[in-house]
Each structure stands twice: as structure tokens, then as C-alpha cells.
């Protein structure tokens, strides 16, 4: 008798995920089916790599996930270092780990601001960006740029680390600000009504859809690549695994991850204050040729597991280069997770999965 309504949640909408298009079929306010459509930001990163040498491609890699630029730089440098079997000295490893964890904190802070703005609360957006501005100013003093750093090179870093007292100031201000946010957000009755019990993700479904990162750990599966990563050898931390499976648990897991990252940065700072001058052996990037074969490198990025695969035939340009990113599979999951929910809840659930579009449309 009644036919359903087709609604287009178009590529331009006032939330901060980017250009994602959802074709919904509604019956009243309940969603019957949902079909995501991507590809509005496809720039052809993989084909461009076959026409450029490795050092020409390195500055382009930060634009794949602009909130986590250090992670993707580290992937490309790691592949080249694996292929030529180069071991990194301890001070270089400590510098890389400290900058990676600071980047993870700034990415999670932006997620908190954006998620709460999707739900309608505008004040936490301004608080989160105020803390993020402190971290970006430190990066600008060190590398010269606020968002696309281009600081890691094959075999090490561009120059020695400086201004460590700014990092100490960040570490002393951040804990009490985080407690302020928890007081107004975590036990808020409106927030609890909108996120507790919504968007439940079972562990078997998550593994079948190849979900990794915080979304998987908030469903009870203990998989954190940092424990078997040779870059993090010698650091002492634990993975945040919770058992709630809904949107509220994913929010709480990200707040606890910020606290774990501060712990890792503190250990790296203690080492860096006593270490001597930087001594590194850089790989010569001109006419760099990798030996024949397939090489792979994985890392735990803020949105899931990220991999880079390079196939080389002995020339100075790669034959094939492929990226695997975490948000690509979360968009695929929306087909199943949004069936049977109301339209207002759908925006909140899609926001809690932390999707960024340039990672999906490389």
C-alpha cells in the first residue's frame, strides 16, 4: 500500500566527514536500506607512483590522510628501509615514536569535536580545537608546516629534535583539560540517551568485514599491531580493550587512548633528554633502486591498520604500489549497521566510526 521514500544524503552536507554520498530508502523515519557511494575525491595516487621516483613521491604521501601525515610518511620510508635492510639507531626511533603519538592525540581531539558537533553540541568543538592549536604550533616550530610535515626521510629524520620544553608544557596542561571534558560529556544524560545501546557491532561481524583499530577493540577483540612492531621495541604500554560494543564505548576508548599516548610520550621524552648528538646514516635518495621482489610494511594508524605494498623490478620507479587504509572497510560496514535504525541515529552512528574520505578514495 505505502511506497517507500528515496532520500539522497548528498555529497555536500554540513558534517565534517568529507564528500560521502548515502542513498537511503525510508519508510516513515526508519531506514530500510542504505547504499554508500564514494569516488568524489579520487585523485589517482596509485597510478601517479608509477611515473615518479621514490623521493619525488614522498611529499605527496601526507595528503592521503591529512590528520595523520606522519603515519603515512613512516609507511613509505619503512618499505624502503625494509627492502635495503637498514636498521634504525635508537635515537631516531625515539624521535619517530614521539611525533607519531603526538599526531595520534591531535587526530583524536579533532574527532571528539566533530562527533559532538554532529550530535548538536557546539561548545566542545571550540575546546578541542584550542588544545589542538597548541600541538600544531609545536609542529610548526619544529618542521615549518602545520599540516603536511615532510620530515621523515629514508634512513632517518631531516634534522635533530629541538624545543623539548614545549612538549613538556603540552603534557602538563592536557590531563586537567581532559578531565574537564569528561565532566561535561561522559555522564551527560542527553549524550547517554543518544549513544548508549546504538550501533552495536558484534566481534564476529567486525572480523568478517575486516575492521581494525579502535572500532575492533571496543568490541572485545585484542588486536593492536603496535605490540609486534619493530619501531616500538622497548616501550611499555597496554592496548585499550573494552566490552561495550556500542557508540558510547567507542568514544570512551578514544579518550583512554589519548591517556595511553601521553604515557608513551613521557617515556620517549625521558630518553631524549639524556641522549647525545644525532648520528644517522641516510640512504642516498638520488637514483635509488630497490632490488627485485615484494615488500610490505604495516602500522597502527588512528583509524585502523594501514599497509603499503611495493612491487619492484629493479628500476628507480616502483612497478606497483598499493595502499590499504582503515576507513575503506568502515564505509562498507555502513550497509549493514544502518538497517532498521531511525534517521537521527544514523548520523550519530556513522560519526562514531571515524571515517575520513581521502583515505577511502585514494
Amino acid at each position: 500500500m505505502t511506497s517507500s521514500l528515496r532520500l539522497n544524503l548528498g555529497p555536500q552536507h554540513p558534517s565534517t566527514h568529507g564528500v560521502l554520498r548515502l542513498l537511503l530508502e525510508l519508510d516513515g523515519e526508519k531506514i530500510l536500506s542504505c547504499e554508500p557511494e564514494v569516488g568524489y575525491l579520487h585523485r589517482g595516487m596509485e597510478k601517479m607512483a608509477e611515473k615518479m621516483s621514490y623521493i619525488q613521491y614522498l611529499p605527496l604521501v601526507d595528503r592521503i590522510d591529512y590528520l595523520a601525515g606522519f603515519f603515512y610518511s613512516e609507511l613509505l620510508c619503512g618499505v624502503v628501509e625494509n627492502a635495503l635492510e637498514v636498521e634504525l639507531p635508537d635515537k631516531v626511533r625515539a624521535i619517530r615514536v614521539m611525533l607519531l603519538e603526538l599526531n595520534r592525540i591531535s587526530s583524536h581531539l579533532l574527532w571528539i569535536g566533530a562527533f559532538l558537533m554532529d550530535l548538536g553540541a557546539v561548545s566542545p568543538f571550540f575546546y578541542a580545537f584550542r588544545e589542538r592549536e597548541m600541538i600544531l604550533r609545536y609542529f610548526e616550530k619544529l618542521t615549518g608546516q602545520r599540516m603536511m610535515y615532510n620530515y621523515f626521510v629514508f634512513g632517518g629524520v631531516r634534522k635533530d629534535i629541538e624545543y623539548l620544553e614545549d612538549v613538556e608544557e603540552i603534557l602538563s596542561i592536557l590531563p586537567e583539560k581532559l578531565d574537564d571534558y569528561e565532566k561535561i560529556i561522559t555522564e551527560n544524560p542527553i549524550f547517554l540517551m543518544r549513544t548508549k545501546g546504538k550501533g552495536i557491532l558484534e566481534p564476529k561481524t567486525a572480523l568478517n568485514y575486516a575492521i581494525t583499530g579502535v572500532n575492533l577493540r571496543a568490541s572485545g577483540v585484542d588486536y593492536d599491531y603496535r605490540h609486534s612492531d619493530p619501531l616500538y621495541k622497548g616501550f611499555d604500554f597496554r592496548a585499550v580493550v573494552m566490552d561495550g560494543k556500542d557508540s558510547w564505548t567507542r568514544y570512551k576508548a578514544r579518550v583512554l587512548e589519548i591517556k595511553e599516548s601521553m604515557n608513551i610520550i613521557h617515556q620517549a621524552l625521558v630518553y631524549l633528554k639524556e641522549a647525545g648528538k644525532l648520528e644517522q646514516k641516510l640512504i642516498n635518495p638520488l637514483n635509488l633502486k630497490l632490488p627485485e621482489g615484494d615488500y610490505i610494511r604495516e602500522i597502527e594508524a588512528p583509524r585502523g591498520l594501514a599497509c603499503c605494498y611495493v612491487k619492484s623490478t629493479g628500476e628507480d620507479k616502483p612497478y606497483r604500489l598499493k595502499w590499504r587504509t582503515g576507513s575503506y572497510y568502515s564505509v562498507n560496514l555502513l550497509r549493514e549497521l544502518l538497517k532498521g535504525e531511525y534517521l537521527n541515529d544514523a548520523i550519530a552512528i556513522a560519526g562514531s566510526l571515524d571515517i575520513i574520505l581521502p583515505e577511502v578514495d585514494k
Binding site: G44, M52, R130, E133, M147
Partner: protein, 192 residues
Amino acid sequence: MNIIISSIDYILNWSRANSLWPLTFATSCCGIEMMQTVASDNDIARFGSEVFRGSPRQADLLICAGTITHKMAPILLRLYQQMPEPKYVIAMGACTCGGGMFAETSYSVIRGIDKIIPVDIYLPMCPPRPEALLDAIRKLQGKIKKESVLTRKDFVNSHKIKLKEECGLLVDGDIYITQLGVNTLQTEAGES
């Protein structure tokens, strides 16, 4: 004639320039720097942009922040046509000014958005700092204050869409194309 109109011009231009309300259109990395400009350290509300509107029918400034690809081009054109007159465009970032980092070797990026819609201010850098975006808005306010009611026709003519005939797309005069396809053309009656 100019002496009589000049005080009307002054009031109209002053009120248009000091209350530009932008549209939320952020595709890529430059969108994060636009969000950083809205936040509390660099405040865009003190220059008149009190809110960012969600619908193009209520906005009068389009800050195009991010790379535009061949699949996204018809949607940008449709948004521009839905905005009411008078409307202004800022091209933010290197990708919108002339293709940016992807201009040499990519197969799906449009080399600059001024091939599709008319642009008022170009703002290069990758990505521009929040202070640079505030500087661009100040320059746009200076440009608006030099307009006049008598030259309204020239203003409307210079902001009409003119696309390339050889690429199989479109036409001149009052007919605007909203569906960009290789073999099919659908035209709508235009508003002048």
C-alpha cells in the same frame, strides 16, 4: 548621475561587505584549515561571517576548499547556480587555483576551478594558514566596496558561466547546463 547615487552605493556596499555568510563546502585538506579559522584562536565571526549556512539558497559566499575531480564537477556547478545574486567565490588552496600537486600526472583532477565557475579571489598555498584566509576575506571586502548600482549589468555579465564549446558541453546566453555528460545534454531554462 553618479553624485546622486553615491550615497546609496556607499550604504549598499558597506552592508554587503560586512556580512558575508559562507556555505559549508569542504572537500579535502583545506577544509581543516577552514575549520581552524572558525575556531576560537583565529575567529572569523569578527569579520562578519557569523554562521556558516548549510543550504546554498541562504548563502552568498562560496569558499571552495579542496580538490575537485571530474566526478564532483557537476555538483559544484549545480551548487553555484542555486545561490542567489549577488554571489562571490574564493578559490582556496593550490588544487583549486591550477591543479596543485596533481597537475602533472593525475588522470582525474580538474586543473583549476576557473574552468567551470567564475572566481573572484585566488588564494594559493598548500594549505593556506588561517591568517591568509582572513587576508583574502579582507581583500574581497575591499573589492566589494568599489562596486556601483549603475554598473550592475556588467557585474552580472562577468559572473555568468561560460564553458568551453569544444569540450561538448555548453552554451552561451541564458541557457545553463546542469548535467555534464559526454553524450547527453540536458538544459534548463535560465534565470538572467
